[in-house]
């Protein structure tokens, strides 16, 4: 029998649930800096694509910001597409990806 580890996770789960409950949120993905997906509400294929493509873009954006001003840093990345918006919060250790289409019915 798999026993659930005793780590307190309630905070993170709560936070994720809060995000997920916003209108039109299609999915959230958490990727570690090593490129591994820690948690995702999307299906496997999409998760793989998002976790493969977005951290590198965020890193590129961070390079851009820091090249322009070495004392500056990337805070938040929002990608507005015709279908939805992708929000990327990239820090040193983790990347949080939220995909939202506000016109879609809340999932």
């Amino acid at each position: 029998m798999f026993k659930r580890p005793f780590f307190p996770q309630s905070g993170i789960e709560e936070t994720l649930a809060r995000i997920q409950n916003h209108k039109g949120v299609l999915g959230t993905v958490i990727v570690s800096n090593s490129g591994t997906t820690l948690r995702s509400t999307l299906d496997d294929l999409l998760t793989e694509q998002y976790s493969k493509l977005l951290p590198s873009l965020a890193e590129l954006a961070r390079n851009l910001v820091r090249d322009l001003d070495p004392q500056n840093d990337l805070d938040f990345l929002r990608i507005r597409s015709f279908k939805h918006e992708i929000m990327v919060a990239a820090r040193e250790d983790f990347v949080l990806i939220v995909i939202q289409d506000p016109t879609a019915a809340s999932s």
Partner: protein, 980 residues
């Protein structure tokens, strides 16, 4: 202090420069001296070749002894030696080049001497170097090695010359020396004294020998006077030595014919001996020198002995001495001192005005005017041209760096436990704490605002509104008319071909009055539908022939080969183009081959394929025809074929007989079902379903326009009539209600025939009806219009919604105007009016597909009553919707609906109030009447009312006649006595 040092410097500097001069002068002179070694010698020698004649003999004698070169040079040397100062001084100016080389300083006699010395030195050197190698020693002898010589060895050439063995008289001729007797000895004498061996050609080559005095005296004694020596007996006796020397003189050197010389004095004998010895010695020395020189020459260059010659003063040092400058006194020495305490003193700086300072005595550097600064550059021309550096580089890439064509990676994944660990880690929760707020902010922002709104689009729209006039005008693009087919006919129906761009189909009918039509009724009169292509505005692409005039036709939306039309006699006809394309193409080809052929013959005519049976068709003319795509009809029941179905087999027609007929185009089916007729004309084509409609007056509803709901299977339809009624009904009856009422609502909408009935492309249940002088917007199923326009001055003949703008309506009228109504802009008058034709417009149609977004062109086809088809282009502002127009129009309709509701709600109260007011009025009138006529008039019946009205009319007429009469009398048209 400075001044002194300068003086010192000035004193010294010339000295140093002069030193340099000295050096250079020395160099120069030494250079000249060096040159002399080689060059001068030769030139000197050459100069001195033509020598004084009295030297010639000596030269001759030398030639035999030495080589030619040597002789020449020796000559020069001899000359120098003998001729001395004066001669040399004369010879010098003969060679200007030589003089130049010697810097012109050699005019002094001393210099000449020096020069000759140098020449002699040079001679020796040149002798050593230039002499031909001596003849090699005889081979049988051991190689002769000449003895080494010391540094003080004097070469033969430089030895003093030998004394001469003769003397010279005044004439320069040779004479025997004193103590020498030139005698002639006969052969016997020679034999007697035993000197036969003498002679240059004899063996031994001896020239001289000793002869004892005694022998000569004996000869004299013996032979007496005939002795050769007899003449010189005394001299022989007086001679101081013995034996005497005798020398053969074969060449007769003195020219006196004697062949011997006899030396009588010891002095001369010694000299002669010395000459002979010395000559022999010198000969040997010369040979030695030659050998040494040959050995030296044979040596390799590195081992050659360098002859270092001692410096010979030739007077140049005197010149240098004269030219040089020497310090004539000891340099001065000065000591300048300053007290130590005067160094490193503190500064005391104070501020002072510049002009004060400059004028003060402390100012050591006084200002002065420097003319350099007065020069001003007034103009300067400069140019810089930058030329880009170019370089041509060629690189040839060798193909084929190996590239990995594929690789396989395994995704990095964590196990569930690891994931849980990370998910539960403090880092992640920290990360979330930082990120959460931003995420939520973004999410909420997106919820609040419409993120997909294109702000630029609305910006562009603003521009378009304030665009130029031309942008906002309706312009005619093209017009079509045909002399035979459409001229002076009414374009009763227009449709853009659904599958082709720039092709319009037009149905033409005779512009006949009702009476004319009645007269013609029943007689077949072919009518045509013209297919116009934008490419050819003169000839229709082809025409469709119908048995009767058609007022309505439609292309099948899914199968453009099928065209159906409704005729004036109530029949429905159908064309099938699928078999006609080839024929049309062939005709076109022949037309292009023969352009002179008549127009009529060249326009392809397509005959109708099927026509409906007259007995099952409409009884009156067909006014409208609508296809029902994706619908299946089975025994009066309409069902949808399925989503995305591309079948369209049914259409509906309406006509003046108040029926709506539904037709199936699959005539073949009928044929199979019916009798097996080979001919199409035998076919009985009848409607699959019929709905009969009744007007408000209980008569047949003369339908003019038919309008279905978008979802046709619901069976909801609206029909407009000739009498201005609008009928809302349902043809698809629900189950179990077979005989239900078709008509749900019938309203008197217009006072004249309704010319257009169209459903809004944006709102499902909003209808537009156009009739008489107004148009109305209806909500389906409601008895009151949402919006009714004011009455226009002209009759509206057609109208339609804009396919792209929800609030825009296009109307045409009988005077050829196109009106554009934007109900959001203004509701009392059209937003735009354009007069496009002189004759009434009868039909209109939007280009197929113009509802699609991003169309760059919106074309409207208008058919007028004179047979021409006009294509107009609508401006951009009418084409592109304003932002949120659908919403705004929805609001407008909502507002109007509310208004109608309000009016309806107030209607009972209003009617009650109206009634009350009327009753009050009536009561008042009754009361007045009662005053006039006591008996109360009973409540008038309808007849009584009619009678009353008649009475009123008669009374009014009598009054009128009376008035007229009075008026005529007044005008003098009638006499007062005359009765009326």
């Amino acid at each position: 202090m400075e001044g002194t040092s300068e003086e010192d410097g000035a004193g010294e500097r010339p000295a140093s420069t002069s030193e340099i001069v000295i050096e250079s002068a020395e160099n120069g002179s030494s250079g000249v001296a060096g040159d002399l070694d080689g060059q001068n010698v030769e030139s000197q020698a050459l100069n001195s070749q033509p020598e004084d004649p009295h030297e010639g003999q000596h030269v001759d004698s030398k030639i035999t002894a030495d080589g030619e070169n040597v002789t020449q040079i020796e000559n020069g040397a001899e000359i120098v030696e003998t001729s001395g100062v004066v001669e040399e001084a004369e010879s010098v100016p003969k060679d200007p080049a030589n003089e130049g080389q010697e810097e012109g300083a050699l005019t002094q006699p001393t210099e000449v001497l020096d020069e000759t010395a140098a020449v002699k030195e040079g001679e020796e050197a040149s002798v050593v170097q230039m002499e031909e190698p001596a003849a090699p020693p005889p081979p049988d002898l051991p190689p002769y090695i000449p003895p080494e010589v010391g540094p003080d060895y004097i070469p033969v050439a430089r030895l003093p010359p030998l004394p001469l063995p003769y003397a010279l008289n005044e004439d320069g001729r040779k004479i025997p020396l004193h103590g020498v007797e030139s005698i002639f000895l006969t052969g016997s004498t020679v034999e007697i004294i035993g000197i036969t061996h003498l002679g240059g050609d004899k063996e031994g080559g001896k020239l001289a020998d000793f002869v004892y005095k005694e022998k000569i005296l004996q000869d004299i004694q013996f032979r007496g006077a005939i002795s050769d020596f007899h003449v010189i007996k005394t001299k022989v006796l007086e001679s101081d030595f013995d034996p005497l020397l005798i020398k053969i003189n074969e060449e007769d050197a003195y020219g006196d014919g004697n062949n011997f010389e006899l030396v009588l004095s010891k002095e001369v004998a010694d000299v002669w001996n010395y000459i002979e010895e010395e000559t022999a010695r010198r000969q040997q020395l010369r040979i030695d020198e030659e050998l040494r020189a040959a050995i030296e020459r044979a040596k390799p260059r590195s081992q050659k002995k360098r002859i270092v010659k001692p410096w010979n003063s030739r007077g140049s040092e005197l010149e240098i001495e004269e030219a040089s400058v020497f310090a004539k006194r000891e340099p001065l020495q000065m000591v300048i001192q300053r007290r130590r305490r005067e160094f490193y003193q503190a500064f005391k700086l104070t501020d002072k005005d510049a002009h004060e300072l400059w004028n003060s005595s402390q100012m050591e550097c006084r200002p002065f005017k420097d003319p350099n600064f007065d020069l001003r550059h007034l103009e300067q021309e400069r140019g810089v041209q930058a030329v880009p550096e170019t370089s041509s580089i060629a690189i040839q890439a060798g193909g084929g760096r190996p590239i990995t064509s594929s690789n396989q990676t395994v995704p990095l994944e964590l196990t569930a436990v690891q994931k849980q660990e990370v998910l539960g880690s403090q880092d992640l929760s920290k990360f979330f704490d930082r990120v959460m707020y931003q995420c939520e902010e973004a999410l909420i922002q997106n919820e609040v605002t419409n993120i997909f709104r294109d702000d630029f689009a609305s910006l562009a729209e603003d521009d378009a509104v304030s665009g130029n006039r031309k942008e906002a005008n309706i312009t005619e693009v093209q017009s079509f008319t045909h002399l035979t087919y459409s001229k002076n006919k009414v374009v009763s129906a227009v449709q853009w071909l659904p599958h082709r761009k720039g092709v319009v189909a037009v149905a033409c009918t005779e512009a006949a009055s009702y009476a004319e039509r009645v007269a013609k009724a029943g007689r077949p009169a072919h009518a045509y539908i013209l297919i116009w292509n934008f490419k050819d505005p003169i000839h229709p692409e082809f025409v469709l022939q119908a048995p009767f005039e058609t007022a309505a036709f439609q292309y099948n939306p899914f199968n453009p080969d099928i065209i159906t039309a409704g005729c004036y006699n109530g029949q429905v006809v159908m064309w099938d183009m699928s078999s006609e394309h080839e024929r049309i193409a062939a005709m076109k080809y022949s037309k292009s081959k023969d352009p002179d052929a008549g127009d009529e013959a060249q326009i392809p005519v397509v005959k109708w394929r099927f026509s409906s049976a007259v007995e099952f068709s409409h009884h009156s003319h067909i006014t409208d025809l609508v296809w029902m795509p994706g619908i299946d009809c089975n025994r009066g029941r309409f069902t949808r074929l399925g989503e995305g179905s591309k079948e369209c087999n049914f259409f509906a027609t309406t006509g003046g007989d108040g029926k709506v007929n539904f037709w199936d185009i699959r005539v073949d089916r009928l044929m199979k079902k019916g009798r097996k007729a080979a001919d199409d004309s035998d076919l009985v084509w009848k409607p699959v379903h019929t709905v009969a409609l009744v007007s408000l007056l209980g008569m047949e509803l003369g339908g003019t326009k038919l309008c279905f709901h978008h979802e046709m299977e619901k069976g909801i339809f609206n029909i407009a009539s000739f009498d201005g009624e609008l009928l809302h009904g349902q043809y698809n009856k629900p189950e179990g209600d077979e005989h239900g009422e078709d008509t749900k609502l019938c309203i008197q909408a217009h006072v004249g025939p309704v010319m257009a009935l169209e459903r809004s492309p944006f709102f499902d249940n909003i209808l537009l009806s156009v009739g008489d002088w107004s148009f109305q917007i209806w909500r389906e199923g409601q008895a009151v219009p949402l919006f009714q326009s004011g009455y226009a001055s002209e009759y509206y003949t057609c109208g339609c919604w804009s396919p792209t703008r929800p609030a825009v309506i296009y109307l045409v009228d009988t005077s050829g105007n196109l009106e554009v109504w934007d109900v959001l802009d203004r509701s009392h008058e059209p937003s735009m009016r354009a007069t496009l034709s002189s004759s009434p417009f009868m039909s209109m149609s939007f280009m197929a597909g113009s509802a699609a977004p991003n169309q760059t062109q919106q074309l409207l086809a208008l058919g007028d009553a004179a047979g021409s088809l006009r294509i107009v282009e609508l401006p951009r502002n009418l084409r592109r919707p304003v932002p949120n127009e659908v919403k705004l129009m929805g609001n407008f309709l909502e507002r109007e609906t509310n208004r109608m509701g309000d009016v309806a709600a107030r209607a009972p109260a209003r009617t009650a109030a109206l009634k009350a007011a009327e009753e009050r009025k009536k009561a008042k009138e009754e009361a007045e009447a009662a005053k006039d006529k006591e008996p109360a008039v009973p409540q008038p019946t309808a007849k009584q009312v009619a009678a009353k009205a008649l009475e009123f009319d008669e009374k009014a007429e009598a009054e009128y006649y009376k008035l007229e009469h009075a008026f005529k009398i007044k005008l003098g048209l009638l006499s007062e006595e005359e009765p009326n």
